[in-house]
């Protein structure tokens, strides 16, 4: 057929010689192979540049860290998670409390489109209470969500106590977060004046305290592991806290 292809028009040559697939130099089959390899290199260069910029931004703690959301339990560190997540949504499907949602364009970062996340203010992670295992981890086909060695080793993030809005710090008797916490007296404990404090080493970041908090905005949001507080209101208060500390 290759003999014919020289005499036929350009249009026909595509299908005829492509069928031969002999990889003759200059034939469309060879051309497509060359295109594949060239674009592999081009894509690798572009991707490498973008990846380097992204890693630099992450390290510098700039905007991209604010886009990190609360991930399901067992999630690997954000860059490794984004690399391994298939965006298939099986964890979202498996979640019995409908905690997990699919990140769409609204969530701001194109690279996390299709990945699972949750909002602690609305539906926190109930740690599959009433089930034998963490169902999202069991459903994940890749190692984006890795099996955890007991609930206490989960690190979704850390609860951050904002003292201006917290009722207990403002003279009101409130122990909502302590009651909601899966590890009371370990992750959240009280000082002598019955004010709560978060023990960072013990907090797993499930967000149950966030939902239970009666104030608006919540006085105890969760900071995602490797990220920053994602809600604007929280971020502002956080900045104010920092300023006050500096003073």
């Amino acid at each position: 057929m290759a003999g014919d292809s020289k005499t036929t028009s350009d249009d026909e040559r595509g299908s005829v010689a492509g069928a031969a697939a002999g990889g003759v130099e200059g034939s469309p089959a060879g051309l497509s192979r060359r295109a594949l390899l060239t674009s592999l290199a081009a894509g690798a260069t572009g991707g490498g540049l973008l990846g380097a910029v992204n890693r630099g931004a992450m390290a510098a703690g700039s905007r991209s860290r604010r886009h990190i959301r609360l991930r399901p339990p067992g999630a690997r560190d954000e860059p490794a998670f984004l690399a391994a997540c298939l965006r298939c949504g099986q964890c979202i499907d498996a979640c019995p409390y409908k905690t997990l949602r699919l990140a769409g364009p609204r969530e701001g970062a194109a690279r996390s489109m299709g990945t699972p996340f949750f909002l602690a203010e609305e539906v926190p992670c109930e740690l599959c209470a009433g089930y034998d295992e963490l169902l999202c981890i069991a459903a994940c086909p890749t190692n984006a969500l890795e099996p955890v060695d007991g609930l206490r080793t989960i690190r979704i993030g850390t609860a951050v106590l904002l003292e201006e809005t917290c009722l207990a710090f403002n003279g009101v008797m409130c122990r909502s977060c302590w009651h909601a916490c899966p590890f009371p007296n370990e992750a959240i404990r009280f000082d002598a004046r019955l004010r709560p404090e978060v023990v960072e080493e013990a907090c797993i970041g499930c967000g149950l305290c966030t939902r239970a908090c009666p104030t608006t905005p919540r006085a105890i949001p969760v900071r995602p592991r490797g990220g920053e507080l994602d809600c604007d209101a929280h971020r502002d208060t956080d900045a104010e806290v920092d300023e006050e500390e500096e003073r």
Binding site: E12, A19, L31, S32, A83, Q90, L102, G104, P141
Partner: protein, 346 residues
């Protein structure tokens, strides 16, 4: 005669077309059901899914991207991709023709266009033939990017995934019930627009492109289609020309008419092909038994429109492939009888 032909054509039910449409609609329904909690037999979307709670199925391109991006080898993913790759190896890129939800949308759109064209009496042409290596460029680019940026690029921006996400996840996982049904509905719709609006806009943009160049996405951009066409190159299920003499065009040529003066007599198969494969001139007229173009998605559009039913589906054993490759190797000598046959025809 010509008018009779057209009437006969219109009356004929497009079995294969509706066949592959219904399997794709079935897949969409399965995706939707998979998102419901009371349906445990399917879970997932287009990039990966689990059947009956234990059979993993993974999109081979997604599996490749994940493997390159995370630099780890995952048994479940490889197994799941292997199932689909084996199917493509045996049957060709049937995913594109029979399963792909985006392909379904394009196909329904093309059908609508054909119908409008018939009523408004303009010619709905299939698009220009585009070079095959375009898809290879995007496949290579996606794989290179995924590996270097440690991010499965196509899985985050794939319109195929968009369709699946819209179907599976838009009936939102956590609709907050507001006081009053109308308020709940209003919030639900607002939420749906906020979440799915941009995805819908991108899909709408692709449909607008369809007006100018039909199937531009499938033929020139889709890296998944590129991968399937690479793998399915030697697929055993093919459109076959059962008997060349049944073809109106070939019969006309055999009657002693010159192609230069007669032109293409029928050519419906070429005109209908969504992938713009020249079924008639490059395959049937050449005396090839099968349509061996790697772009062929086995959608059966050409079979449906062939007025004399000269085309059909056929399955070929691996022996016939050996014969073909032997013939290929001895090409310069073997092409002689081919040319003789052609000169006899014309």
């Amino acid at each position: 005669m010509a008018r009779e032909d057209s009437r006969e054509r219109r009356r004929r039910f497009r079995w294969w077309t509706w066949g592959h449409r219904s399997t794709a609609i079935g897949f969409l329904a399965l995706l939707f059901l998979g998102g419901r909690e009371w349906f445990p037999w399917f879970s997932g979307s287009t990039s990966a899914a689990t059947l009956f709670g234990w059979i993993p199925v993974t999109d081979p391109l997604a599996a490749l991207e994940i493997t390159l991006a995370s630099r780890t080898f995952d048994g479940t993913v490889v197994l799941g991709a292997g199932i689909l790759l084996l199917a493509a190896l045996l049957l060709g890129p049937i995913f594109c023709g029979w399963v792909c939800p985006l392909g379904l949308i394009f196909d329904l759109n093309a059908g609508m266009r054909r119908r409008i064209a018939r009523i408004a009496r303009f010619r709905a042409r299939s698009g220009p033939r585009l070079a095959r290596w375009w898809r290879m460029v995007s496949l290579g680019g996606v794989l290179g990017f995924s590996s270097a940026a440690a991010l499965p690029l196509f899985q985050t921006v794939s319109p195929i995934n968009f369709v699946a996400w819209l179907v599976v996840f838009l009936p939102l996982p956590a609709l907050i019930p507001e006081p009053g049904i109308w308020e709940t509905l209003r919030c639900g719709v607002a939420e749906a627009v906020a979440v799915g609006g941009p995805l819908l806009a991108i899909l709408g943009g692709l449909l607008l492109i369809e007006l100018a160049v039909p199937r531009l996405w499938c033929r020139a951009i889709c890296p998944l289609g590129g991968l399937y066409s690479l793998v399915g190159r030697s697929g055993r299920l093919r459109v076959t020309c059962r008997s060349q003499s049944d073809c109106l065009h070939v019969a006309e040529l055999r009657r002693g008419h010159d192609r230069a003066t007669v032109g293409v007599v029928c050519g419906r198969c070429t005109a209908e092909c969504p992938m713009a494969i020249d079924v008639l001139s490059s395959h049937v007229e050449h005396g090839k038994k099968t349509v061996d173009d790697p772009d062929c998605t086995r959608c059966g559009a050409c079979i449906d429109v062939c007025p004399t039913r000269a085309l059909g589906f056929g399955v070929f054993g691996f022996r016939s492939r050996q014969h073909r490759s032997e013939r290929k190797r001895k090409d310069p000598d073997e092409s002689q009888p081919q040319r003789e046959r052609e000169s006899r025809i014309s």
